[in-house]
Symmetry: C2
Subunit: 238 residues, 2 copies
């Protein structure tokens, strides 16, 4: 790409889903301590909501997302971006294939989450529940890293996972208030099961959290964690 | 660009300002009647907040934005987008140069606004005030089109324009609540002057409107108008 001036560009592969991508871009923008447009981070986002569903692909052993993801990051790298982010946990199932296809580093969303946890005041005692798609849960990307950082990790049982699936589908279908109601019920149930904190391990889930309600469990938003980690790498945050 | 599947892509040149771009992308996403990711519109956005300020360039007769804008749209066109949108009114000062540089059509934000007005229940009687940057006001892009559509158009006096300038700068600096306060005062003043409706002719201004407050004047949001017009062109809305 030819730009009249060359400042570091962040490359973002999005659309998985589309609202989660917009939510990530909003977080990225609001986190920058900027006084005017020119203080902000330039970025390039390709939003491809038309790619095959990642979670069902993992379930069915269908490898079609690999081509979309590898081509997407390779194309971003060719445009001269300095770092790539994917505001979609499930896509990180194909992380190695993507990193191999890209000549620039990709910030892993679960590494960003652990970085965020290290800097957060979240209690180390008590169980942390990972809420994510079945594909992400199956990959173990969050559980493995959290256990390595000495957290007690739990994942929802089948009834709980069905609720998580439903919340994600509701956000993707634009049914925000139904998603928020379902999330409140799920949080109350997890709290009764002794869960002390949540990792919102799918970028749709923060969109189902009602920040106006005070009865939610403390939660790490992986989308916010990814935005912060990218801004730190590119020198926009300490 | 090589994508495994070729659906029409919307190209967006953004960053002017960054929050207004995210706001536009959010509107674009929420307007699509989608049930899952795959129903959504694919898009490609280049956000260049580091380009020179448009309004002061127009004031000072500085033509540097032309190169950024022309290169930006030319690059988007080369990537195979079907239509280009710029969620920034002031940049449309260089519309002809951009359209000349781009092999694909650019949706003019003021044409989209007139299209929106034609479809809206806004009263035809009474004065419509155009709120925008000094550069946009000077270009007359909204006034000319609104007068041609039989609206009585007014623009703020110097004291009013200073308030508009301040609101836009506050949104760009992330000072949302100060911007909303200032906007409420300005609306009350315009209402006293007999203004019946507003054209929020700068994509930062909708971000300063408090939708929870009922005492605002009816307003056309040019960012929403642009999103709707693009979705109609690409077959996502009737």
């Amino acid at each position: 790409m030819t730009r009249p001036q060359q400042q570091p560009l962040l490359g973002i592969l999005g659309g998985m889903g589309p609202l989660a991508t917009v939510d990530f871009l909003g977080k990225l923008t609001r986190l920058v301590p900027a006084h005017c447009d020119q203080d902000h981070l330039p970025w390039l986002t390709l939003s491809q909501p038309d790619m095959p569903d990642r979670s069902s692909a993992i379930r069915d052993g269908d490898d079609r997302p690999r081509e979309w993801l590898a081509k997407g990051v390779a194309w971003l790298a060719e445009q001269g971006v300095s770092l790539i982010a994917l505001p979609c946990s499930t896509s990180h199932f194909w992380f190695e294939a993507m990193q191999e296809a890209s000549s620039v580093p990709i910030m892993h969303i679960a590494d960003a989450t652990v970085e965020e946890l290290r800097l957060s005041p979240l209690p180390r005692s008590g169980k942390v529940a990972v809420l994510a798609t079945r594909g992400t849960i199956r990959s173990g990307m969050y559980s493995a890293r959290l256990r390595a950082a000495d957290f007690q990790v739990v994942v929802p049982d089948e009834a709980g996972q069905m609720k998580v699936d439903r919340i994600i589908a509701q956000v993707k279908a634009g049914e925000g208030s139904a998603a928020r109601q379902e999330m409140q019920l799920l949080q109350a149930e997890l709290s009764r099961q002794g869960v002390a904190a949540l990792v919102l391990g799918c970028t749709e889930l923060p969109l189902a959290c009602d920040h106006r309600s005070a009865d939610g469990l403390p939660a790490v938003d992986v989308s916010l964690a990814l935005a912060r980690a990218c801004l730190r790498r590119l020198g926009y945050l300490d």
